[in-house]
Subunit: 376 residues, 2 copies
Amino acid sequence: MTDKNETNSSEQHAQADDITMSGGGLYSLATKGAKDVIDHATPLVVDAINALNLDSSLTEFKMSDMGCADGGTSLSMVEAALNQVRQHAEHADISVVYSDQPRNDFNALVSIVHDLTDFDSYVKRIDRVYPLFSGSSFYLQAVPDNTLHLGFSATAMHWLSTKPANITNHVHMVGASGEELRAFSNQAKKDWETILACRARELTSGGRLVLINFCRDSQGQYLGNTGGVNMFDNFNENWKEFLSQGIINDTEYENMTLPQYYNTVEEFSDPLTNKSSDCYQAGLRLENIETRVVPCPFAEEFKQHNDVQKFANGLIPTIRSWNESIFLAGLDSSRPLPERKQIIEDYYDTYRQQVVTAPQEHGMGYVHAYKSIYKV
Amino acid sequence: MTDKNETNSSEQHAQADDITMSGGGLYSLATKGAKDVIDHATPLVVDAINALNLDSSLTEFKMSDMGCADGGTSLSMVEAALNQVRQHAEHADISVVYSDQPRNDFNALVSIVHDLTDFDSYVKRIDRVYPLFSGSSFYLQAVPDNTLHLGFSATAMHWLSTKPANITNHVHMVGASGEELRAFSNQAKKDWETILACRARELTSGGRLVLINFCRDSQGQYLGNTGGVNMFDNFNENWKEFLSQGIINDTEYENMTLPQYYNTVEEFSDPLTNKSSDCYQAGLRLENIETRVVPCPFAEEFKQHNDVQKFANGLIPTIRSWNESIFLAGLDSSRPLPERKQIIEDYYDTYRQQVVTAPQEHGMGYVHAYKSIYKV
């Protein structure tokens, strides 16, 4: 089997091939913070279900979890959602559509949702629920037109469909400027509109979205930049140091550009409030948007246990779980794979030493925009 | 992660944990014959779609492929089906629900269907089609009530939900007798009724099933018993020889009982024609049933190329792809895994030598019952 590029009949969008979350259930094990974020958002999901005006005549309810990775972080939220649906529509059969890019670890996802692992899945407690899994990323429509009652996504849609440019002085758009920043913001605008256009087609009339996305907030905070060391600046400085030591070369340094964008509240809101936009024309309306900070769970626990090794053993894997595949792919493929892997090990070891040396300076606080959207 | 037993909210049925088809796309590569069988059945699928009386007002069409394994063997059939649906219902969005037990290799399945491999998937040629994947085996309902237009399954439903007994003198029910055979036929009757009951709930009124299942035909033929050496008897004789040589013990010999049952036409038909049965009461009707033999593709090719090594290199992997996991699980778990694996290697090597010595005597011809079923 050789791999071909991802193709689809109707759309060309695809997430970059290099992006994969950790597989085998490790993603959810490592990303306690991502589960905290979803748990904190569960009241918004419950509110959205209440606003759907479901009643006992409903025979089928469909919800989605877009960019679900291994599904472990949303189990509690989905269970709360399903229970809420049944409060209103006690006879409804329920489909839960888990979607992610086709290179996601679907074996881990299916095992976790079907309760074959140590995660505690709702499937054994809620009857007439039909989990379905889709390999269509959120840049594609995953279910037929006008069939989705509730679309959910958390901590996923910051991944751009493609990397629009390398950033020559940083690893992330939060440190970019000028033309390079413009290339990222243009791509992000196009991608956000594509994401919303797909959802506008999927949703029933009156259907709702609860979307929780990384953002830059009004105080300039974003993931890993909520006080203390700025995580992305630290990533960058460590790579720059590797470059100056000759461990990596200029091309590799530039390739280590994360294909992400963190929208502001204004950028998220624009296509949903601008009456001439395609999204608005397609019926999507922004009911509410707010930003929230969820503190780094490992840093919070450290304040209690004060065990610096334990802190580093929690924080570094949570970082690795989402960016290791990108940084590894940035290294020249002419290097033998073991050499590339060693560079990556050394890179995270460097970060780990920094955490151990000054633990109170480090952490990965989450900064999200929470959006409630409906379709007229 | 430790594994737990498969559980489900509403039903206790589950296929035995030991049964897995070869993963990583190997199943479809190894089972050319299984694809031949599906291709031969495609006209039945087309007829079933024509009988659905679809029209251009239809907005959503849903079909399923139950027990799909890695999905490679049904790609051509699904494409033909989708094209036929669009002949009648040109505006319909189409969902294709691929289902298999939750330990199936879903990563291979998603990759193959989404055209990331060398298999040629229809997704790039047909628009508005939404592949969905389900970890609910055919012993469970996979989609909500009254939503499925066409259910398809090929070469899958002979796997029982549980092994009702060990067969003390054979590896398969085709060689069983007395109480042991009765235990298998009772289990098979219950399982077939469960399978049909789930489908009765899934199907729309007027919806259809095309089911292609291993069977024993009116001449007593079945898989691997269409002339020449009887494959299952040969399996059995080789294990008996391993037993007499002390390579395996009595318990292991008995454990090597395949949890399969091959129904006769009468056994398949009974719940669909007996007016007092639950299936009949639920609205399922048998439109047609017939049996067909599809010759072993490797034996057919051998008649042309006459290369005995090539023949054995095709036939043995196709056999291994579906029974290796069962035979391996029959061996005492106190043996080190490498020892168990070596016994299995030696076992298939024995078969391979027999094929090389008398190639014209061997083959795995397919004997299926083809059923067209509808819901009133």
